[in-house]
């Protein structure tokens, strides 16, 4: 029982991180119908920025907000300078562009910073705690991760639901032409969407790195599984992204503990294919109108 509980907690933490990235992907997908494969590489880049700042003596609590701002700017720039030109084209072109960015940014990190693994500081302890006789392997850092992701996600959703900017962003995503006729600067809203996703991704990247090692490609696995989680959830739905992330995280954690660590990835594949064969649009997709 104790093992099951701890495995579940590990899966939950992992799932929270997948969910955070899946939220970024869904945020961008809803606004521009593009999957940003470069999301992970962007986050790795800002995490390296934070690492450099901390390494030079800046406090963790100052470096992290600065990195988040950098992520905001980077995301906005990428949309404005590059993505804007392929937004109207065929789906496949945009996919290829973001994949190109993904490869290029990762290589850039290797050139600018270091190719070697480096330890990234964790702001809280890496010890679990005990309740009665049971050892709970949920470390202080894990709790910080979950709380930070949850707070950021709630802030993001609140921004969408309760603010004027959020309403305009939703309108721009819903119907570009109508929104434009109503006086909304659609282009600006799209840039803002990418920038917000960049900032949220930067936070998630730093949270994942905390207490572990970073290398230029350390986000690869995360962003791939976050993408799988988003597809599981249906790409269009924030709830779907969170549920997809948690389901995937828990599945991987159970497979790792009870079957074999090397089958974690293939389990993700099986889960994804299983869901997509039954529901090709993901778990939480809205029903699609017939084409004819």
């Amino acid at each position: 029982m104790q093992q099951f509980l701890n495995v579940s907690f590990t899966g939950f933490t992992l799932g929270a991180i997948y969910a955070a990235f899946a939220l970024c992907l869904v945020l961008i997908f809803r606004a521009t119908r593009i999957i940003n494969f470069a999301q992970g590489a962007q986050a790795a880049f800002t995490t390296y920025l934070a690492f450099e700042m901390i390494d030079r003596g800046l406090s963790y609590w100052l470096a992290v907000p600065l990195a988040i701002v950098a992520g905001f700017v980077l995301g906005g720039l990428i949309e404005r300078v590059i993505i804007r030109r392929v937004e109207k084209g065929p789906e496949i072109n945009a996919v290829i562009v973001t994949l190109g960015l993904f490869v290029a940014i990762e290589a850039l990190i290797g050139i600018l910073f270091s190719q070697n693994q480096q330890g990234f500081p964790a702001p809280f302890g890496l010890q679990g705690f005990t309740i009665g006789d049971t050892v709970i392997a949920l470390t202080g850092n894990d709790r910080f991760r979950i709380v930070a992701v949850a707070v950021a996600a709630i802030m993001l959703l609140a921004l969408f639901r309760f603010t004027h900017v959020g309403l305009r962003m939703r309108a721009a995503a819903f119907g570009q032409e109508v929104a434009q006729l109503l006086g909304i600067r659609v282009g600006r809203m799209l840039t803002l969407g990418w920038a917000l996703a960049g900032a949220f991704g930067a936070l998630a990247g730093i949270l994942i790195a905390g207490g572990g090692f970073i290398s230029p490609s350390y986000m690869q696995g995360v962003v791939i599984f976050a993408f799988v989680a988003a597809v599981l959830g249906g790409l269009d739905s924030f709830t779907g992204a969170v549920v997809g992330g948690l389901v995937l995280g828990l599945t991987q954690s159970y497979v790792q503990s009870y079957i074999d660590v090397n089958l974690v990835n293939i389990a993700a594949l099986a889960l994804l294919l299983g869901v997509l064969v039954i529901r090709p649009g993901g778990l939480f997709s809205a029903s699609v109108a017939r084409k004819v």
Partner: protein
């Protein structure tokens, strides 16, 4: 009007849709029915192969590294050609072709290790295994589109190497399997003389060119036309009686089989099959190659394979002589590939072959118009 002018108008309307990769392959393969080019293609392929043999003989003693690079190109080529047919002609994206290469490579390694079967049978069995995996993925893929398909194939790319590590006894775990490549038969050696390690290069090109020949006929056949129809307009295609799902699955199976050939060659060329050879980066590089060459064009696939083979070494040599350290130099190639990928998509989404061809046909059409105008003026 001749077929050529039909091509020209197709290209002309393609101009109106900047960034339209849909039109790319349509333009490159022509709109109407074509006469069979089978014999011409066969001749080309045989000539190319003889050319490779001569090249290997020429380079073998003094530039062994170039011969190895040619062999590398030979294992990229079938996989890239298969992918360009899938993505460019049939419109399905796959980020998992590296994994399908892995299936072919592992099958070959395991079978060659037993030393029971002749090489050609090993190749056929590897193609069969890769095609079967392709069939499984293809059945799922046929129902998906765009980002969903990308996600499913991406999961394939990261999932498959794990299987190789899990079945340690059979597949050698992290260390991988050593491969003893086939040696050249006596009758072949009596024709060409001793080629040394160059034999693998020649053998590899024989297979790669066979794949190209097969695909070039296939894309100009009924199946190729069906694939293009499915890509361009699902509704119209199904109204014409094309079974969308079956057509897509078939394209995936064929493409996977080609990737299997690539995997087989990778195994015998590098003499090692290990999970690290089949990272997600391999799949992304294959995609890069087809985009740079020109989606849907087999000539583009050849160019893409050449770029993928020769550019990284060239770049890292330049970087080393410019004073960068080793790891920085190794990162230069992916950086350039990534940036070029973005730039190509923004500036010339038809890739090298598509852009050149469009320019050629546009010029030809202009010339013909000018000539007609002159003719009309005289009359």
């Amino acid at each position: 009007m001749s077929l050529d002018s039909h091509d020209a108008t197709a290209d002309g309307s393609g101009e109106l849709l900047p960034g339209g990769s849909r039109r790319v392959a349509g333009a490159s393969s022509g709109g109407g029915l074509r006469q069979s080019n089978g014999l011409k293609h066969l001749l080309l392929v045989v000539l190319a192969w003889i050319g490779i043999i001569l090249l290997v003989k020429l380079l073998e003693t003094d530039y062994p590294f170039r011969v190895t690079q040619l062999a590398t190109m030979a294992y990229y080529l079938p996989a890239i050609a298969g992918l360009t047919v899938l993505t460019g002609i049939n419109g399905q994206i796959s980020l998992g072709h590296g994994a399908l290469m892995a299936v072919g490579a592992y099958t070959t390694s395991v079978l060659l290790d037993r030393q029971e079967l002749p090489f050609i049978v090993v190749v056929l069995l590897s193609v069969l295994t890769a095609s079967l995996v392709g069939l499984l993925v293809g059945i799922a893929a046929a129902r998906l589109h765009g980002p969903y398909l990308a996600g499913a194939t991406l999961a394939l790319a990261v999932g498959v190497p794990g299987i190789a590590i899990y079945y340690r006894e059979l597949f050698g775990g992290d260390q991988g399997l050593r491969v003893s490549p086939p040696s050249s038969p006596a009758w072949f050696e009596s024709l060409t003389g001793d080629l040394g390690r160059g034999y693998i290069t020649v053998l590899g090109w024989a297979l790669a060119l066979s794949v190209l020949f097969f695909l070039s006929n296939l894309v100009n056949s009924r199946y190729g036309r069906q694939w293009r129809a499915v890509r361009d307009d699902e509704v119209a295609a199904s109204l014409l009686g094309i079974n969308l799902g079956r057509s897509r699955v078939l394209a995936f199976v064929v493409s996977a089989g080609c990737a299997g050939v690539g995997g087989t060659l990778l195994a015998v060329v590098t003499r090692l099959t290990a999970p690290l050879s089949f990272t997600i980066v391999l799949s992304l590089f294959l995609l890069t190659a087809i985009v740079l060459g020109g989606l849907g064009s087999l000539l583009g696939a050849v160019l893409g394979a050449a770029l993928l083979t020769f550019l990284p070494t060239f770049l890292s040599n330049q970087a080393l002589s410019a004073g960068l350290d080793n790891s920085q130099a190794a990162n230069l190639a992916p950086l350039v590939f990534g940036l070029v990928l973005v730039a190509v998509m923004l500036v010339a989404p038809r890739g090298l072959v598509g852009t050149t061809r469009t320019a050629y046909y546009t010029r030809k059409a202009h010339k013909r118009q000018a000539a007609q105008a002159k003719h009309a003026g005289r009359a």
